[in-house]
């Protein structure tokens, strides 16, 4: 009779545990050993058309604006369908951080994201640089459309598509007099009445530092102290849809938000207006870029998509719908007299503009500080 070697339950589980550890370590090793891919090359010869292009877009009215102003004329002109990926920009960034360094194809051909994200992603090499030869409309843009230069950012890795402000929006049925100063919202009568973004963007530290008499990034304590004092008045913090809902439902009759959300609240029937307080408002941009690691044909046609987006015709419809001043000098814009949509030198004097390199370098600390105060 054969002698059977005893492997008890504990022994079995021990071996299984060891196996799990080996799998985990091997998996981690494989991950860290992944090599970056070679950079995509683009030729100026016309490559075959793909069946479709995938564009990352914010959903709802944002996607509708892009569809009407850019995708529709693009499809009519080139016969290429456009599909949308509504993955949140920061979540898509996390996906691309896994895919692009591993040499894999990203999920979107054209990424429509914030300029802060585009700036960071360009530094990481996620964007295929655009040329004025392939994207002729780049030559028709204001200087502000060109990316801020620094190490890793040269030429057109992305293009700033339009500007937007973080204005003071309010419910006209509750706030009878439009606030002239940001300081008005510190009044205790606005207890649990203020809404803003969940990382403070557009308000803290941009506005608070200015109100506190400090400077970014060296002397921000007075601004943080002001935010701490405002805390009892803050009803909630959230993302774009939450801020729109906040205005519509009246959860926050006063908000620091981009006017696009206030316009959306108006479309839903809420009595909403907005103003630029005398201290000014934060101004930022959104951007477009063509992803890296795409097949050559998709890279080419993605650039053509950006070309349509930045053309005078595309910008006129797209930016009008969004309520954001266009970057194309020849585009028209109906709200050009409203300082919340800056188009003139006088408007720009009231804008609080922080360089994107400063934002990228310090944003994590600012967000953490905001979270600390809100906790």
């Amino acid at each position: 009779m054969m002698t059977q070697e005893k492997v008890g339950r504990r022994g079995y589980l021990k071996y299984a545990g060891a196996g799990i550890v080996v799998v985990a370590v091997a998996g981690a090793g494989a991950y860290y050993a992944t090599r970056p891919a070679e950079q995509t090359t683009v030729t100026s010869t016309i490559p075959p058309k793909p069946d479709r292009l995938i564009v990352r877009a914010w959903g709802g009215g944002w996607q509708d604006a892009l569809a009407e102003g850019v995708s529709k004329p693009f499809t009519e002109k080139y016969g290429i369908k456009v599909e949308y990926d509504n993955t949140e920009d920061n979540i898509l960034q996390a996906k691309m951080r896994e895919l692009i360094p591993a040499g894999k194809e990203p999920p979107v051909d054209v990424n429509w994201t914030t300029t802060t994200n585009a700036f960071r992603e360009a530094i990481w090499g996620f964007a295929t640089p655009m040329s004025e030869e392939l994207v002729p409309s780049l030559t028709e843009l204001h200087d502000a459309a060109k990316p801020e230069t620094m190490e890793g950012i040269v030429g057109w890795p992305f293009v700033n598509a339009y500007t937007y402000t973080y204005a003071l929006a309010y419910r006209t049925d509750i706030v009878k007099e439009p606030p002239e100063s940001w300081m008005d919202i510190w009044d205790s009568k606005w207890s649990k009445s203020i809404g803003m973004y969940d990382d403070g963007i557009g308000f803290a530290p941009d506005v608070t530092t200015k109100l506190g008499g400090g400077s970014i990034p060296d002397n921000m304590e007075p601004g943080w102290e002001l935010l701490r004092q405002l805390k009892p008045n803050i009803s909630f913090t959230g993302e774009d849809p939450d801020l729109t809902t906040g205005l519509v439902e009246g959860h926050a009759p006063i908000e620091c938000t981009i006017p696009t959300n206030a316009i959306e609240a108006q479309r839903q029937g809420a009595p909403v207006a907005w103003t630029v307080p005398k201290e000014g408002v934060s101004m930022q941009n959104d951007a477009l870029y063509v992803s890296k690691n795409l097949p050559e044909s998709r890279t080419y046609w993605a650039m053509k998509y950006v070309d349509v987006a930045m053309s005078a015709e595309g910008q006129t419809v797209w930016c009008e719908y969004l309520g954001c001043p266009p970057m194309n000098k020849n585009a028209t814009f109906s709200r050009k007299d409203d300082p919340a949509f800056p188009t003139t030198a006088a408007h720009y004097e009231k804008m609080i503009i922080i360089p994107y390199s400063t934002r990228v370098e310090n944003e994590k600390d600012w967000f953490a500080r905001f979270e600390e105060i809100m906790a």
Partner: protein, 306 residues
């Protein structure tokens, strides 16, 4: 149909010939494989998290592969993050306890009712929430608890002013309790089913009223279900995201919300990973202490061979 089953059994018997006889006693262990694979994936994720948590954050490159303890030091020394930790545990415990108390009576009534129609209604009501996502249920509460919602309306009728429930910890407790309640009922109901009704009658025959019978007979015998309900609801509660996000409105963040903001708003993967590791350790510790001090819940059945 039957012939297919027999063919399958014949095939298994045929394949059995290729298994060395020394393995016969251990075949059952192979049934653990799916569990091991699942735990293996979890382990891979934890290894990633663990490794990220000890690397440095860099604003341009996000992660720099230089070892550091600063992520843990930051989280353990900053009062704001400790507040969020304590809030996460506190609200999870309250919501878990609330769902267990409410779930106990719901389960008891469902099991003991003599009306089959009522029993079916209660069971259907229990499963309906599973057909909708957490986010939808929580949005429902946003409407109910909102400034112009039902609760505020009733409050105005009675006291002349609206209730300020939305974007508070109370709103999160309410929303989380509702999400956890069906899970608690599902865990407790089998334990109550296993209690023989005769034992309750015996207690009452000996002079115990219904309340004493409940406290001294039904509750102690339901312990396996109650423990299982606690472990399930507490661990799910600790990882809640939608409830604090939507009903807390950034004013009652849980650990998961902070992890999300660290990761997706700031790209601070190392801090996010450190936060994940800490909350996993703390939640595991709470569950370990409960299991060690009170018992193994439903697992007791297998241990005692009942």
């Amino acid at each position: 149909m039957a012939s297919i089953e027999w063919k399958a059994i014949d095939l298994l018997l045929f394949l059995k010939k290729f298994i060395p006889k020394t393995f016969y006693g251990k075949i059952a262990y192979f049934l653990l494989l799916p569990g091991i694979v699942t735990v293996g994936f979890l382990a891979v994720g934890l290894v990633y998290l663990g490794s990220y948590s000890i690397f440095k954050f860099d604003p341009y490159h996000m992660v720099v592969y230089t070892l550091t303890s600063e992520n843990y030091v930051l989280l353990l020394t900053n009062p704001a993050y400790l507040t969020i930790f304590v809030r996460t545990l506190k609200i999870s415990l309250i919501a878990s306890a609330s769902s267990i108390v409410l779930g106990f009576f719901y389960a008891y009534f469902t099991v003991r009712t003599r009306s089959s129609i009522l029993q079916k209604i209660l069971l259907t009501s229990l499963f309906v929430p599973f057909f909708t996502g957490d986010v939808i249920r929580v949005y429902g509460w946003l409407i109910v608890l909102g400034k112009n919602g039902f609760v505020s309306y009733v409050s105005k009728m009675i006291w002349g002013h609206g209730a300020e429930l939305i974007f508070t910890e109370t709103a999160v407790v309410i929303g989380l309790t509702q999400v956890l309640l069906p899970l608690a009922v599902l865990m407790i109901a089998p334990a109550i089913t296993a209690i023989r009704r005769d034992l309750e009658f015996a207690a009452m025959n000996l002079g115990a009223n219904e309340f004493r019978t409940l406290v001294y007979v039904v509750v102690p015998l339901s312990k396996p279900g109650l423990i299982a309900a606690f472990v399930t609801t507490f661990t799910i509660g600790v990882t809640a995201f939608a409830e604090p996000d939507i009903l807390g409105g950034g004013r009652a963040d849980f650990a998961a919300n902070v992890v999300f903001k660290f990761m997706f708003n700031a790209g601070a993967y190392p801090q996010a990973a450190a936060f994940c590791i800490l909350i996993t350790l703390v939640a595991s510790l709470v569950v370990f202490v409960v299991l060690k001090r009170i018992g193994l819940g439903t697992m007791m059945y297998t241990r005692t061979g009942r």
